[in-house]
């Protein structure tokens, strides 16, 4: 057969063989690079796949008398109870999968832990140090507080974006209050009258307008939301602290500059890392920068205020440090500068008095009752830094039990979270992929002109088999996506060391999909989901006309990940887009990834078809009734 003849003289065959040979050489080099030259990798065998049982301490808190240090260990799924003086381990208490937040009851007798992957709350008796109850809660519970009366628990659920109110005795859910999108962190005011909630993804706002977030203010006694303090230009809000006198609140947050090209990193153009202060001490809420030229405070997360209001401490997960603020100086500066100064890189030198280097990815922190020690959880180092607050130095580093070597995976994760690789240490992968997910924003990434080729951020979960990358499908694999592209366009810095890039890729490929909250146990579908699935795979429209293969949902969104890994024109090109051909995005946990389309112009799944599919190019959908479209969406949420 002519079609199968191979001629070694044929130039295309020669090209093919040459390319294949180069690819093999590159693969061999890559493999050797992984296998050799990484002295920090003690474990042998299949290094790329190794999953060592790290602790990954995420949060810390002290017993009311300061005698015990409780450490929430995310990866090992346990709470380590340490003697706060000797740091000896008293007990390790297993809880659920990926615990994320914890707090003590008002009387100190119970410790509540949210298990973010199990959607449960573990109740630990602090006397016996045993789990006495496990209660079901909402989707991805991320923090918990109890009211002063010990009657109610409040739980922030990240996926459902709400704050559940539970009976503190039985765990029975009374109701859920609307939180911000990605509701995650709760703080009880010192007088117990208010609970302040924050959320890690911005609330919906019109396309290409500044992101908007909020502090959700709850009246504890009535258990209702009484206010939402707006946080303009903010996306990514984390821990919040209130001073002991109740007059000052401070919340750690990201201030992304996603409306201007990211190519302007060298002009300080990606993020401002800030706090918003609120309360009687400042009057109106005011946003203050933590960054300084060449000393960015990337990924601010934990906040603590000294009891005497002399100091405010912020952990900066990407900069691997704790920022120390002189509070009286800060308040004087705020009062003397009534105009906004959140992006002023000269401001922080007026109130930041120390930047204390700690371990990899510092997160939660707590001040000892006597105010002399500050404990910081270094998540990706399995250590706790104990800082002497008088000298602002790390007095000791407490190593938690677990592997002492750094695996490829861990090194990759450290690389993902650190901001060291970028120009002036401004950003890391996790600045936009918060907690290895996304940020709910669309960005102007490339140096192709202002407002050109806007792209929506995509989820990183379960990426194997979803290549190529970028919305234009321009990057064939993760080494290209995470390497040259990121280094050149994002970091604006020198290249990764080759093995660092290799480890980063190993980590990104390992990020699992979170459990799908819309799928019933056993994977069966509800009637609505089943009807939607039939629409997803249909080949004939409602009028009996065959739907061309390329215009069926299941053709482009094929396979287990919901992508054919090919590019198509689905009629969504905007005047500012270079090409109409777009990579088919995978459908993994699609319910969590709003906004939608390549540029994030569809605020909801519905808008993909109600607003952006007038010609049926993004699948044949205009024959559907509204309830049928709802069914299709119910099915998509199960992916």
């Amino acid at each position: 057969m002519k079609g199968t003849e191979v001629s070694w003289r044929n130039p295309s065959v020669i090209r093919t063989v040459a390319v294949a040979g180069l690819a093999l050489l590159a693969a061999a080099f890559f493999a050797v690079a992984l296998w050799t030259g990484r002295p920090v990798h003690a474990d042998q065998g299949n290094a790329a796949a190794e999953q060592l049982d790290y602790a990954s301490p995420l949060e810390v808190l002290l017993s009311p008398d300061g005698a015990r240090l409780y450490v929430l260990c995310q990866q090992s799924g346990d709470i380590r109870v340490l003697d706060a003086s000797t740091y000896a381990v008293i007990k390790t208490i297993a809880v659920g999968r990926l615990p994320r937040g914890f707090s003590l009851s008002a009387d100190g007798k119970r410790l509540f832990v949210t298990n973010s992957w199990d959607d449960t709350l573990s109740v630990i008796d602090t006397g016996t140090l045993a789990v006495v109850d496990t209660w079901p809660v909402g989707a991805e519970p991320s923090s918990v507080v109890e009211d002063r009366a010990g009657k109610r628990l409040f739980v922030a659920n990240r996926i459902s974006g709400d704050i559940a109110v539970l009976d503190a005795a039985t765990g029975a859910e009374e109701k859920r209050l609307l939180g911000g999108r990605g509701s995650s962190y709760l703080t009880l005011s010192p007088d117990g009258a208010r609970i302040y909630g924050t959320h890690i993804y911005p609330n919906p706002s019109p396309f290409r307008t500044p992101p908007q977030s909020e502090i959700t203010v709850i009246d504890t006694a009535r258990a209702v939301v009484i206010d939402r303090i707006p946080l303009h230009f903010v996306a990514g809000v984390f821990h919040l602290a209130i001073s002991a006198d109740g007059r000052l609140g401070a919340v750690a947050e990201y201030h992304p500059k996603n409306l201007v090209p990211l190519a302007h990193l060298e002009h300080g153009g990606a993020f401002a890392d800030t706090l918003t202060l609120f309360g009687a001490d400042v009057g109106k809420p005011v946003e203050i920068p933590l960054d300084e030229l060449e000393r960015y405070a990337a990924q601010p997360f934990g906040v603590a205020i000294a009891a005497d209001k002399s100091r405010l401490y912020v952990t900066c997960g990407g900069s691997e440090m704790v920022t120390v603020i002189d509070l009286p100086r800060l308040l004087r500066y705020v009062h003397a500068h009534p105009k906004p100064f959140a992006e002023d890189l000269s401001a922080s030198s007026n109130y930041v008095i120390a930047r204390i280097a700690v371990g990899h990815n510092p997160r939660g922190l707590v001040i000892s009752p006597d105010g002399r020690r500050l404990f910081v959880a270094n998540r990706l180092e399995d250590t706790i830094s104990a800082i002497d607050t008088r000298t602002n130095r790390v007095a000791s580093t407490i190593a938690l039990a677990g592997p002492k070597t750094v695996s490829l995976l861990r090194h990759g994760e450290q690389t993902f979270y650190t901001a060291r690789q970028s120009f002036q240490g401004q950003i890391g992968c996790a600045s936009c992929h918060i907690d290895s997910t996304l940020d709910g924003l669309n960005w102007d990434l490339e140096p192709d002109g202002f407002g050109r080729d806007i792209v929506d951020n995509r989820l990183l979960e379960d990426l194997r088999g979803t290549e190529p990358f970028k919305w234009n499908g321009g990057n064939p694999d993760l080494p290209t996506e995470c390497g040259p592209r990121t280094e050149k366009y994002f970091w604006r810095a020198e290249n990764y060391p080759p093995l660092t890039l290799a480890d980063l890729v190993v980590y990104v490929r390992s990020i699992p999909a979170r459990p799908n909250r819309w799928r019933l146990p056993g994977r069966e579908l509800t009637p609505a989901q089943e009807r939607g699935r039939a629409l997803f795979v249909r080949s004939v429209d409602k009028f009996g006309n065959p739907i061309p293969e390329g215009n069926r949902c299941a053709y482009c969104h094929s396979g287990p990940k919901g992508t054919s890994q090919k590019s198509f024109d689905v009629g969504t090109r905007k005047a500012t887009d270079g090409s109409a051909m777009l990579d088919t995005p995978q459908l993994t946990n699609i319910a969590l990834t709003a906004p939608y389309l390549h540029d994030g112009s569809a605020a909801t799944l519905e808008e993909i078809w109600t607003l952006f599919n007038p010609d049926d190019k993004h699948g044949r959908t205009n024959d559907l009734t509204k309830d049928e479209l709802n069914d299709l969406i119910e099915y998509l949420r199960t992916r």
Binding site: V217, R228, T604, E606, K626
Partner: protein
């Protein structure tokens, strides 16, 4: 088969309902003449002092209009939330708190300026507003909105909304909806999956046991929360105004409002009202009750025995035997209250205040006080001893 003439009637009736000013342009006496005659008779009779009047609640009405803070005089809906009063007007959502009005508009994120319906989530304090352009939620002073393009909502004309537990039940111009607040799942109910002949759904009342929908031209739709089954109540006389046998069933197919309390269903239609106890129907017409007009926009039961009716000719109260009507006189415009006892005797009561207007669109209770949404102002009926 649907009757074209009936559809034409529906269209006209809809216009009247959503644009009461159109109705007001016509002489008020053009319809429901028996009530009008009764009113005239009552006006002519000597008024008795309040202390000597038959037993009926008496109120001093304080009226709000644009003159004292309302954004618009056309008030479609009113909602009491403790000391706070929400008024859905033709030009924004108004909140009365601490003696002042605050107005939410589309600039604040409200789906549309015309707010047709309101519901309170008593657990969370969130307020849901059905508008001519979608459904809005007001929570902690922040508004977010659901539309037919951005969400699973079936239609942007939201005539009715009611909250029960984690479900928001919605009545729209194109079917009924339920939004589950835990899963964000939308369920749509229409002629394809319920016994709904028309999909023009005008009001909803959700309770832990039953959910009732008022469907224009398709009677009352009932959803049993326990079994998940739908049922339907129709006028046994079909789609016309005849009443062959009194109390045989629902008074008319054009249902405008439902209220379910103490296992009793109160129903308002444009051709009289009904009470259903699960076994027997009892109907109210101007000719055989104290109802001031058969054209009823809204009904709200206090309990299984007592209910308030909002008609095009005044506000009416029924206590199980006696009726009271509160309104500006149809002839003089002066404040008027009449009481009709079980024997049909009408007694005028001397009053100095009345609701802002006779075209009543919404009712809610604040303790023993009543709030009334009318086509020309919002009224606060302060209960008098």
């Amino acid at each position: 088969m649907k009757k074209p003439a009936f559809h034409s009637f529906l269209m006209i009736a809809m216009l009247l309902a959503v644009a009461p000013q159109a109705l007001l342009a016509a002489p008020a006496s053009a319809t429901a003449s028996p009530a009008h005659h009764a009113a005239k008779a009552a006006s002519a009779a000597p008024q008795v002092p309040a202390s000597a009047a038959p037993q009926a609640p008496r109120f001093r009405f304080e009226n709000f209009t644009t003159a004292n803070g309302l954004p618009d005089n056309h008030v479609y809906s009113v909602l009491v939330d403790g000391d706070r009063i929400w008024a859905g007007t033709d030009n924004g959502l108004a909140l009365y708190e601490n003696g002042k009005w605050k107005v939410y508009t589309t600039k604040d994120g409200l789906a549309h300026r015309a707010v047709l319906s309101l519901a309170l989530d008593k657990r969370t304090g969130d307020v849901w507003a059905g508008t001519m352009g979608g459904l809005s939620r007001i929570s902690g002073g922040h508004i977010d909105t659901f539309t037919q393009l951005s969400s699973g909502l079936s239609n942007d004309v939201v005539y009715g909304v009611s909250v029960d537990g984690e479900d928001v039940w919605i009545a729209t111009a194109a079917g009924a909806c339920r939004l589950n607040l835990h899963t964000n799942q939308w369920s749509l109910y229409n002629e394809r999956n319920t016994p709904m002949n028309e999909i023009w759904v005008y009001a909803v009342n959700a309770t832990p046991s039953k959910v009732y929908y008022a469907v224009w031209g398709s009677g009352v739709l009932e959803y049993d929360q326990k079994t998940g089954r739908w049922d339907k109540y129709d006028d046994p006389d079909g789609e016309n105004e005849m009443v062959l046998f009194k109390d045989q069933g629902l008074i008319h197919e054009i249902v405008t409002s439902v209220s379910y309390v103490d296992n009793i269903l109160w129903v308002a239609t444009y051709f009289g009202d009904s009470r259903y106890d699960g076994r027997y129907w009892h109907n109210f017409l101007t000719k055989d009750s104290g109802l001031p007009s058969n054209f009823t926009n809204t009904v709200k039961g206090i309990d299984g025995k007592r209910a308030w009716f909002g008609t095009d000719k005044g506000l009416a109260y029924y206590d199980g035997a006696n009726w009271a009507v509160y309104r500006p006189s149809l002839t003089t415009g002066k404040p008027e209250m009449t009481v009709r006892d079980a024997q049909g005797k009408v007694t005028p009561v001397a009053v100095t205040t009345a609701p802002a207007h006779n075209y009543v669109l919404g009712i809610d209770f604040q303790g023993s006080d009543i709030w009334v949404a009318t086509a020309k102002g919002l009224s606060h009926g302060i209960r008098q001893p």
